[in-house]
Symmetry: C2
Subunit: 447 residues, 2 copies
């Protein structure tokens, strides 16, 4: 490899990553647009044109929290993202396809089969972002009295992922023989039960689909808490994370890369990809104006809802122009712990009111926002990439498809000129794009 | 409506409905063919070219029963069919998309969201075949000690479907207002919790996707037992069933249509569509030879496996050229009860050995087989259709895509000439094709 290349994900939060994207004058005037297969296929084709490693979908399993008006001021509806990946397998040939799915609500047999199916349908382009979910309202929709607490969620996630990997390994790669003459479809000695008996799951297996093209789909992990980092270090291949300063990102990067050692893994076996929302202008001034325009579109209620969600604490009724109230300590918070710490720290250090805080973070939903000319955008990505803060980025276009198109047309060529990004796809699978090894089935089964 | 038209489903059991299709010389020589998105999209496009109402996928959740060699002699691998529907949404515009999914293993929130997503992506073409699953090995893969027994499975299915319908009704059709100026995305008074508290599930809702295009996806039911018929009469819109004689089919048809009355439903609200495997020849002789050729390809072990599966009783070790052993009474059998009765009755009436029995039924997996010239095929369909035995058929091509292509080219034009089948799609949604009413959300919520 001549140059180390950035890995790029196209984070697809429709109709754009900015929380007020739907109010933008360039956004569709009919929400049906975001509910059609063609829309998602076009986005995947666009990301493929831009030579991205993959598209990426978040997910959640509830429409609202306690407040009746939550649904009024932002786009809360989300089609099932695993199904969106499937729609994207047709009409594309290279782009990786990543969706979030929660181990708290789905059984590992379902998860292994679903992501294995996507990997087959796409000829080796699937990735699963393993999450444990942080919202109590989601648990209620799955007939639970309450959400599992944080530690238990991660224990369950760890076991679920272990079961899924074994299920993917339950068929050897060459198990299908298709000998028409002898009437032998499969060499049954190469299809084995896994006989998993664990704390949360018992699954005899085998899976009822052949071994996925990539051995198994690429495993992405998106929690940055202590157990999240351990899960990533032991089992994930990409870590998706949110940092607003390079210093914080560097500390995190070193931390997770060092944890790999005790699992016998190499620094290259886990790619760190923070989220970033780029707002691009022909001039710096224009970019700033664009950002200010987006900010002006955030309805108070939507800002407050998003902030409440990030903190897992309902801020309704607190004065918007006053400070954050005293919040329960992080140890007692059953939401996303790292986000909580990030946001409360920001409020304290910069002495922000609730309104200033949501304006600061709601736009990019807690992720890093960068502004500027295409060169300035490229500079900011390069800065993190070359200074031990990132192996690549999840690019969160503030408005879709425009923001993604702009990034591809304006920023990608600069990254390519600087030797920081591929000029064509060299392989066919997502593992090829990410430079990840194909997992060994025999090793998985021994664990 | 001038003529009453047949409804046709294209049942897609890859690589063909015949249990030995994969051994046929015209079948693919590489199993990868049946694992690719393009293959499934081509099948959907073919069915759409033939003006079928819908494609139809069965499903199961385990690769084998107890016997190690089960996997050797038939195609047991099955990609997740809900994901196959999603892949088919792109590249088609009229064909209905139906997949089987089990209420025994999936939560209603997941099911409602998944089939609702397909309905949006396809602009109103989704259908869900609600099953309870009959195989104990499937339950084990979902961390259960044993499968729910038959009655309990149907109670769970009934409640699951009720929850799903309420979730689909939790958004009113015009809930999204998308008022950019006022910053109002949704009229929150039109998005409501359902607050379901039942025996199996508690689900506050609302769903996190808007009301599906068809109100809700078309509900298909595939069990013909007593509780199966009740579920169909109370809640389903299509019933998929298996009968080998017109007399049995007529009795069943009258039975389910009569049951509709007590639920305040009309005979047209539920379409009865038995499965049928047509083997078509230029002459009757050629069709018979084709059928004999298919039969000669059935490996002993695959025939025995399929027969054991239909009876939910392991026949291994019994002499193939002897009679069926005494089987436990149907009341104690926790599998598909109607199939059990159908098969044991056939063995008794025709005094068949185990081998003769599996040769008789394994080919079409328990469904009706018909042979002949295109005219003779059309005659046999017309006979059932006009004599109170069926509203249409699930066409089970013995080999895919060839058998489907042949049916479309040779048989469909005859049905059209006779005024028995549409000559173009008159509507856009699957409900339009089937002549089904759009459900009323307010009524669903009151139940």
């Amino acid at each position: 490899m001549a140059n180390r290349h950035m890995h790029l994900g196209a984070f697809l939060m429709t109709p754009g990553h900015h929380v007020a994207a739907w109010r933008h004058e360039d956004s569709a005037n009919d929400a049906k647009e975001w509910l059609s297969a063609d829309y998602y296929v076009r986005l995947a084709q666009l990301a493929e044109k831009g030579l991205f490693d993959m598209v990426f979908f978040a997910d959640h399993y509830a429409d609202r929290t306690k407040r009746e008006e939550d649904v009024s001021h932002s786009v809360t509806a989300r089609l099932d993202p695993i199904l969106l990946l499937s729609a994207m397998t047709h009409g594309t040939s290279r782009i990786g396809l990543c969706a979030t799915a929660s181990t708290s609500f789905y059984e590992p047999y379902y998860l292994a089969r679903a992501f294995g199916t996507i990997d087959h349908l796409s000829h080796g382009r699937a990735a699963w972002n393993v999450v444990t979910s942080g919202n109590a309202y989601e648990a209620l929709n799955f007939s639970r009295d309450a959400h599992y607490d944080h530690a238990l969620r991660y224990e369950r996630a760890t076991e679920s992922l272990k079961v899924a990997k074994k299920l993917w390994a339950s068929w050897e790669e060459d198990a299908i023989v298709l000998d028409k003459k002898a009437g032998r479809f499969t060499d049954s000695s190469k299809v084995r039960t896994i006989d998993h008996e664990g704390h949360f799951f018992s699954v005899p297996g085998p899976l009822n689909i052949p071994r996925p093209v990539q051995g198994h789909p690429v495993i992405v992990q998106a929690g940055s808490s202590e157990p999240g980092k351990e899960l990533a270090a032991s089992s994930a291949e990409v870590i998706f994370t949110a940092w607003k300063t390079r210093k914080d990102a560097e500390v995190f990067y070193r931390d997770v890369k060092q944890r790999l050692v005790k699992y016998g893994r190499d620094a290259n076996d886990l790619k760190v990809m923070p989220g970033v929302m780029p707002i691009i202008g022909k001039t710096e001034e224009e970019a700033k104006e664009k950002a200010a325009h987006f900010r002006s579109l955030i309805p108070e209620e939507a800002g407050l809802r998003l902030l409440s969600g990030l903190l897992n604490f309902d801020l309704t009724g607190y004065p918007l122009d006053g400070p954050l109230p005293d919040l329960p300590p992080v140890e007692t918070n059953n939401g996303a712990k790292t986000r909580f710490e990030l946001v409360t720290k920001l409020a304290k250090v910069e002495n922000l009111t609730i309104r200033q805080l949501y304006q600061h973070i709601a736009g990019a939903r807690g992720h890093r926002e960068i502004y500027g000319t295409p060169e300035q955008i490229a500079d900011q990505l390069q800065d993190w990439f070359e200074n031990g803060a990132a192996d690549g980025f999840n690019i969160m276009a503030p408005l879709l498809p425009d923001g993604l198109e702009e990034f591809i047309t304006e920023v990608i060529p600069i990254l390519q000129e600087r030797g920081l990004f591929r000029t064509n796809y060299e392989g066919r699978t997502l593992r090829d794009h990410l430079g990840l090894k194909k997992p060994n089935a025999a090793e998985v089964l021994q664990r």
